[in-house]
């Protein structure tokens, strides 16, 4: 990409400075890390659990695929050319890269082979419960050990080389093939939903063509077709000179608004009809994703805008659920006004706002990391109190509150998951609207300034107390809506639903999606809540994946997968550094660029 716009200076510099060499010691280190990760993947039972699902009939089960995908990824990483600094020529891939990939992959294979030998020689199941003979059978491809060991190492090496080979593909090819493979995986994993979808739109025949049956794995032909179709699509898109976003940005302002409204309308329409097409199970999953999305949008304001890491965010969710339950349920222990949910909503909001103030006030003058821990403490205190016998006369203790009536608006009662999708969806739209409206407002700017530098923000006239309180209150109210809907949909609430893991899950959603980005948070909620619910195999390792995702995102993509525009711009600081460099050397830099318009 850089080649297109590279100024002459850079070309001159390139002649002077050779490309840095690929470091083989790094490949060995990555190989050892690969071995460790692969052994952990096998020993924590992921391989065994995933093995039950076939990706492509009859030869590609998910367990082994996942295991060797690790080797593939490490191969890719090991062969990745070192980052080139300004003025250095970017290294072009050569045999060294392939060797590095092979090395990293092979070492992983050695790790698995060692594990296999160990677990078949000694009985380790007393300690490591997953190291069963069944796992040994899977790892050895059903072969005797002597034959399996070389095969394992060979397969891992091939996977590593395949990972390294990605660097050899031209960008356009890479951008066609990788998404193609990804879509094959998506089709194979969500075979139920894909089937349901085609059935919903009346194209059942496609299902029977691509899959061995409804809910079955892909056929070989099906996999090839899916791959070909999607690769072709991406190939076509990659051929165009401008991206969608660029073309969108080039439109005149009024047309841009029109397009935005049109796109939003189309997405809303699709989402509106989704539950009808997808059936109750998927709708239930979408409902819980929506409730988490509501919370995520709230935390997005507290953390993404105001920069306050609230680890006890679940407390506000609990306040919403419990206040709504007490006000609506006939089974509420203390008092039973038996309001409708709609009538109770103002009180729920009020309770949430009070809770927000109670949590926020003591932490106003606190440093960011202490704030995180204190809010975590508040969250846990709330859960223990809800669970306690002491307060059982109000909150029902461990038995919780049952018999919460469904949402009722006028004559219409929302009962099934499909019904509930509508109010949840509306609340999400409102929350998203609030998020976007507030971002470009006086307080939105104040929050962001506070996030960037609290003491300067205060010196620039922002009342930190009001700013923090208001961020917490907005966040709390959004979470309380989520809680109220959650309780009324499930019909009963128990303290253990308000565990710390809820807070962490919401945190993972906004980190993965992209802090401050509404589309990002939406995709994050769908991917992280819907995925584990739809894939039984994943749900057991849900939190392990969340943990790994948190680390990986912070290391590799702190701005999230779908960053807000602002964050996307931050990524281009490297280009800026280059500009500055050129400016120093007297070439035309941004400072001298003609100004198109003036105020």
């Amino acid at each position: 990409m850089a080649d297109v716009e590279a100024p002459a200076v850079e070309a001159k510099a390139r002649k002077l400075l050779p490309a840095p060499q690929l470091d083989m010691r790094r490949a060995v280190r990555l190989g050892l890390a690969n071995a460790a990760v692969m052994v952990l993947v096998a020993a924590t039972g992921i391989v065994g659990t995933f093995q039950a699902r076939l990706i492509i009939d009859p030869f590609l089960p998910l367990g082994l695929l996942f295991l060797y995908m690790v080797a593939w990824a490490f191969g890719w990483l090991a062969a990745k050319p070192p980052t080139t600094l300004e003025g250095f020529a970017p290294a072009s891939p050569g045999p060294r890269n392939l060797i590095a990939g092979a090395l990293a992959g092979a070492l992983g294979g050695v790790g698995i082979a060692l594990l296999l030998v160990l677990m078949t020689t000694f009985n380790l199941r007393g300690i490591f419960i997953e190291l069963s003979p069944a796992l040994a059978d899977v790892l050895s491809f059903g072969l005797p050990i002597a034959a399996a060991v070389p095969l394992i190492i060979a397969v891992a090496t091939v996977a590593g080389v395949a990972g390294a080979a990605v660097h050899f593909l031209a960008v356009r090819w890479r951008r066609a093939i990788m998404p193609g493979l990804m879509w094959v995986l998506v089709f194979a994993l969500f075979t139920d939903i894909v089937g349901q979808f085609f059935a919903g739109v009346g194209l059942d025949s496609i299902t029977s063509f691509l899959f061995t049956g409804r809910g079955g794995p892909l056929t070989v032909v099906g996999a090839v077709i899916v791959f070909a179709v999607f690769s072709a699509l991406y190939w076509y898109r990659g051929g165009r000179e401008t991206t969608m976003r660029q073309r969108f940005d080039d439109l005149p302002a009024d047309k841009r608004t029109l397009w935005t409204v049109g796109m939003a309308g189309a997405i809303l329409l699709v989402l509106w009809f989704m539950p009808r097409i997808m059936g109750p199970f998927v709708s239930q999953v979408l409902d819980s994703a929506g409730i988490f999305l509501l919370m995520a949008l709230g935390l997005n304001i507290v953390l993404g805008y105001a920069g306050l890491l609230d680890l006890g965010y679940v407390a506000f969710f609990a306040v919403g659920a419990y206040s709504a339950a007490i006000l609506t349920s006939p089974q509420s222990p203390a008092f039973t006004p038996e309001l409708t949910l709609v009538a109770a909503l103002p009180f729920v909001m009020f309770a949430a706002a009070i809770a927000g103030i109670i949590v926020a006030t003591p932490v106003i003058r606190m440093r960011g990391d202490y704030l995180a821990i204190v809010t975590l403490g508040f969250g846990e205190i709330a859960r223990i109190l809800l669970n306690s016998e002491w307060l059982a006369p109000v909150f029902g203790g461990a038995q919780g509150i049952t018999n919460i009536p469904n949402l009722q608006i006028g004559p219409f009662t929302f009962r099934s998951p499909q019904d509930y999708f509508i109010p949840i969806f509306l609340f999400v739209v409102v929350a998203a609207y609030i998020t976007l409206a507030v971002e470009k407002s006086r307080w939105g700017r104040a929050w962001m300034a506070m996030r960037e530098d609290e003491s300067v923000a205060e010196a620039m006239g922002i009342n930190i107390v009001t700013a923090k309180l208001s961020a917490f209150i907005v966040g709390a109210v959004l979470a309380s809506f989520g809680g109220a809907l959650f309780g009324s949909q499930i019909g009963s609430i128990f303290p253990h639903s308000f565990d710390i893991v809820v807070s962490i899950t919401v945190l993972v959603i906004i980190i993965v999606g992209g802090m401050g980005s509404v589309p990002g948070v939406t995709i994050g909620a769908l991917a992280l809540i819907a995925l584990p619910n739809l894939l039984r195999e994943f749900s057991e390792y849900q939190f392990l994946f969340y943990g790994v995702l948190l680390i990986a995102m912070m290391l590799f993509r702190p701005e999230g997968f779908i960053p807000s525009r602002r964050r996307a711009q931050e990524l281009h600081t490297e280009e800026l550094a280059q500009d500055a460099w050129l400016e120093i050397f007297g070439e035309s830099g941004p400072g001298e660029r003609p100004v198109e318009e003036s105020a």
Binding site: V438, V456, E458, E570
Partner: protein, 261 residues
Amino acid sequence: MPMLEIDGLSKSFGGLKAINGLNLHVEEGEIVSVIGPNGAGKTTFFNLVTGMDSPDGGNIVFDGQNLVGLRPNQILQLGLARTFQNVRLFPAMTVLENVMVGQHARTSSGLLSAIFKTPRHRREEAEIEARAKDVLGFFGSRLVGYRFDQLSMMLSYANRRRLEIARAMATDPRLLLLDEPTAGMNPRETLELTELIGRLRDEKGYTIVLIEHDMQVVRNVSDRVVVLDHGVKLIEGSFDEISTNQNVIEAYLGRPAELGS
């Protein structure tokens, strides 16, 4: 009555007396330079006046109101704004947003009016934006046009300094405290900024106190110069008076060339 009157101000960090019984006054419409060797307590003095640090003793009276014990945002509200020695912008906010933040204390629309997009809110937003663009226009063509939507972290060093001044201007101050506004600038930019400081007073009517190391700037811009050393006022007077003063030269020993230039 002076606009800013400081009386017996003291502040120590641990055993170090950063400011030690400082007396100082600034008249309305003046440009006062505060100079002194490194560690003389100049920045501490700014921190105390703007409420970012609290003094151990003494009074800071601005316009008849004692500032001691007020929060920085309250002090800003009264009409004191500052810039920072090591430029402290809001890096992940755009140029325009940085200046818009400056107007926070001078505007009043709340969250609900933003959510419901009331006509008042829309009017105020438009005003904030117009004023921000206007303030940025003060710096010529450097911070306008496509710059509006650039993140402030992407600006060059000199432009960041300018943006910081713009942000302070947007708070509609009466007294502007500039902490080494020309640090790190090249001679051409320094000259330009010197001129700009004069314009700030003449066109905008600000009273200005600046900390400065560049004696050219001090000579060209100041009505009065205050020399600090070890937290006490060594001397004050016109540039010519202080530049020939023996004590000042001693305090600056090791850097006399700069003074004489």
